[in-house]
């Protein structure tokens, strides 16, 4: 991942969101976005089943499938929600054995169905996960015992990009990076102002890859406008989608391309939130025609 960022900037990727029980579909989607110009795919943890099952294990399995069957460089999302260090280590080493060495770490969030899943529990948080991965890379396991062969994980961390960060937010971001993250993947960015505070905290220490989401309707935009932190998704974008009426999906893609053009120069790569839009991949690739950041 790090070598790709340095040598092949600007990086372009897309999230593969798992469909129900369909690995082949995911591998085909990965191949389609690769053919459209993407450098890699990131397998997401939240599929339609939205259960504990559609989490770390599935993301690792999908990444191994996209890598093995479609030959597409793959990054797996790993979350710590409801997992012990013992299980995480077994899954990570199992994924490593299958070639899944690029990871994006996060805490994850529990499904809202508390009756079924109970209260959300975190035995370890993302900082501890990054530290675990760092130790595995040094050849030391969760008990502090030496591994015969060190791992070679590329460690990414998922961080929210919002227009205003409190002092506590900034400290938390620094903890994640200082724990040993090699790169940062942001939450969806709709306007450059939402990215600036995060870039300020990162201060060039590690590459930042921004996620871009193509809004599909005015209703979705309105929901996100209220759900996300203030200022993440401005009203003017909501209005553009409303005016587009039946053409809202196309307008959403156009907004995504514009957002990419606006933020590409400040990041080392772009991740599209979905892999089911190869045409958008091609359009974004065109915007990223020259290196976003000078590697030197």
């Amino acid at each position: 991942m790090r070598d790709r960022i340095v040598n092949e900037a600007p990086l372009l990727g897309a999230y593969v969101v798992p469909g129900e029980d369909d690995r082949e579909q995911a591998a085909a989607a990965a191949a389609a976005v690769r053919d459209a110009g993407a450098d890699l795919v990131v397998t997401a943890t939240s599929g339609p089943e939205r259960s504990r099952y559609t989490s770390t294990n599935q993301a690792i399995d999908l990444a191994a499938t996209c890598l093995g069957r479609a030959g597409v460089p793959s990054v797996a999302t790993v979350t710590t929600w409801s997992r012990t260090v013992m299980a995480l280590q077994a899954h990570l080493l199992g994924g490593h054995a299958r070639g899944v060495t690029r990871l994006v770490c996060g805490n994850g969030s529990a499904p809202s169905d508390r009756a079924q899943w109970g209260d959300a529990r975190w035995a370890v948080d993302v900082v501890e996960l990054i530290e675990l991965l760092g130790r595995l890379n040094e050849g030391i396991d969760r008990h502090g015992l030496r591994l015969e062969t060190p791992t070679r994980f590329d460690i990414g961390v998922r961080i929210r990009a919002v227009p205003r960060l409190t002092a506590a937010d900034r400290a938390r971001i620094r903890r994640k990076i200082d724990a040993g993250a090699h790169f940062v993947v942001t939450s969806p960015v709709y306007r450059p102002e939402a990215l600036e505070p995060l870039l300020e905290v990162v201060d060039g220490d590690v590459p930042v890859i921004a996620t871009v989401h193509a809004l599909r309707s005015a209703a979705e935009a309105e929901l996100l406008h209220h759900e996300l932190a203030r200022g993440c998704l401005p009203v003017k974008l909501l209005r553009r989608l409303e005016h587009a009426a039946d053409g809202a999906a196309e307008e959403g893609k156009q907004i995504a391309v514009e957002a990419t053009a606006a933020i590409a120069g400040h990041t080392q790569g772009i991740l599209l939130s979905r892999s089911d839009q190869p045409d958008l991949v091609t359009r974004v690739r065109a915007v990223l025609a020259r290196p976003a950041v000078n590697p030197g």
Partner: protein, 428 residues
């Protein structure tokens, strides 16, 4: 870890299972008991396999009548399971192979560690639709692997002692002369060999780049032969593994042992790059008194295979032909010099021009001078073969119609092909 009815193991059940597993080790139980306990108590499929995915112990499923999901996974997803096992051996830790979708099977692999070696692997498979029991399964699998290590470690101590005794008996049988036939029959019986049987010897020698013995490789070869050919008497002699195999079907036994030797060669090459395996197979002989003859032939076949790396990976004594004589030449370089003396000009021409005149001549002679059959093998027209042979004569300055020239060329080609690669590359 989820039972068929969907419930997960509670803490008391986990403690009880771990305690029962420990008692299997203290009560001198076997691997079958371990996997049966894990499967029965934890609601999963369980097995112990070796590096080659040979199943050493396999449980039934958690639910009677349900398909053998672990067996299917071993069969259909062999590559992924092999990757996992290989990584588990390297990491010496439990790993998991996650499943996709609620109906799929997820695997946990824990290496069974005896000393410095991963001698086998304990696998569990389960649906774990929501993975609520994954921690429990990983823990139980690790514990069962540890118990299996105690069992296998104990067996290994016994096996080492038995192996040493077997090796000494075998050495006495094949290396010590001046014994009566009755003595030899008695020694053979001690080794479990019926004295009147017809038998062949397969000798598999192991060579490391440093020249040092590689116990892990000879043990792997010993294991591969012993598990696939239970009628064989197998003796690990440190740098070589000797298998004495009875059988009256000469051709059938030769075919089976050649296949077995190729499997050993392939498996070792994949797992231990740089380590060379040379196998030699004796002629068939009848009676215990001829065992030393069989061993001697297999030994010579290996020595010849070592001298001529271009020969097939399994050297069959009966097929050696002229190489038996060539191998008597003490200085291998002299063979190279002879070849260059005869074919030097042609070898240089082939190398400089990318032509394959030596290859054409080899195939032409092996096909008894038939341009038609040689052409079929070389995918060339018979006239082309005839032209190439004539051209080769011109370049080499030889006349293949003249007996001494033809014999010299045939010998030189056998040496070149046997030495392989650059054995005759340069004049020296």
């Amino acid at each position: 870890m989820t039972f068929p009815d969907g419930s997960a193991m509670d803490l008391h059940q986990v403690v009880a299972l771990c305690s029962e597993l420990s008692s299997v080790a203290t009560a001198d139980g076997d691997l079958g008991q371990v996997v049966a306990l894990v499967a029965g108590r934890a609601g999963v499929w369980a097995a112990v396999v070796d590096d080659a995915l040979t199943v050493l112990a396999l449980s039934g499923g958690p639910d009677r009548g349900e398909a053998d999901l672990l067996g299917e996974a071993l069969e259909t997803d062999k590559e992924a399971v092999s990757q996992l096992i290989s990584a588990a051996a390297r990491m010496r830790r439990a790993l998991s192979l996650p499943a996709f979708g609620a109906a799929a099977v997820s695997l946990v692999v824990a290496p069974i560690l005896v000393g410095d070696d991963s001698v086998a692997y304990l696998l569990t498979a389960g649906h774990d639709a929501d993975e609520t029991g994954e921690d429990t399964r990983i823990m139980v699998t690790e514990h069962a692997a540890m118990v299996s290590a105690v069992i296998l470690g104990r067996r290994r101590v016994v096996a080492i002692a038995a192996g040493r005794a077997r090796r000494e008996l075998f050495d006495g049988l094949v290396l010590v002369g001046d014994r009566t036939e009755a003595d030899i029959d008695g020694w053979a019986r001690h080794l479990g060999i019926e004295p009147g049987h017809r038998q062949r010897v397969l000798l598999t020698a192991v060579e490391s780049p440093t020249g040092a013995a590689v116990p892990a490789v000879t043990e792997l070869v010993e294991h591969l032969i012993a598990t696939r050919c239970p009628i064989a008497t197998v003796v690990n002699r440190g740098t070589e593994v000797v298998a004495l195999v009875p059988g009256d079907d000469d051709a059938g036994l030769a075919g089976m042992l050649t296949g077995l030797a190729r499997l050993c060669h392939r498996t070792v090459t994949e797992r231990f790059p740089g380590v060379r395996v040379i196998a030699g197979l004796s002629d068939p002989h009848t009676g215990a008194v001829r065992i030393s003859t069989s061993y001697g032939q297999a030994r010579r076949a290996v020595d010849i295979g070592r001298t001529f790396p271009g020969l097939p990976e399994v050297t069959v004594f009966a097929d050696l032909g002229v190489h038996r004589l060539l191998a008597q030449v003490r200085e291998v370089a002299e063979l190279g010099r002879f070849t260059r003396h005869v074919l030097g000009a042609l070898l240089d021409y082939d190398r400089a021009n990318g032509t394959g005149y030596c290859e054409t001549l080899s195939v032409y002679f092996r096909e008894n001078g038939s341009p038609q059959r040689a052409g079929a093998l070389l995918h060339a027209h018979p006239n082309t073969v005839t032209y190439r042979v004539r051209r080769a004569e011109e370049i080499a300055g030889l006349d293949l119609g003249y007996y001494p020239d033809r014999l010299a060329v045939q010998l030189a080609l056998e040496i070149r092909n046997g030495l392989g690669g650059d054995g005759c590359a340069t004049a020296s």
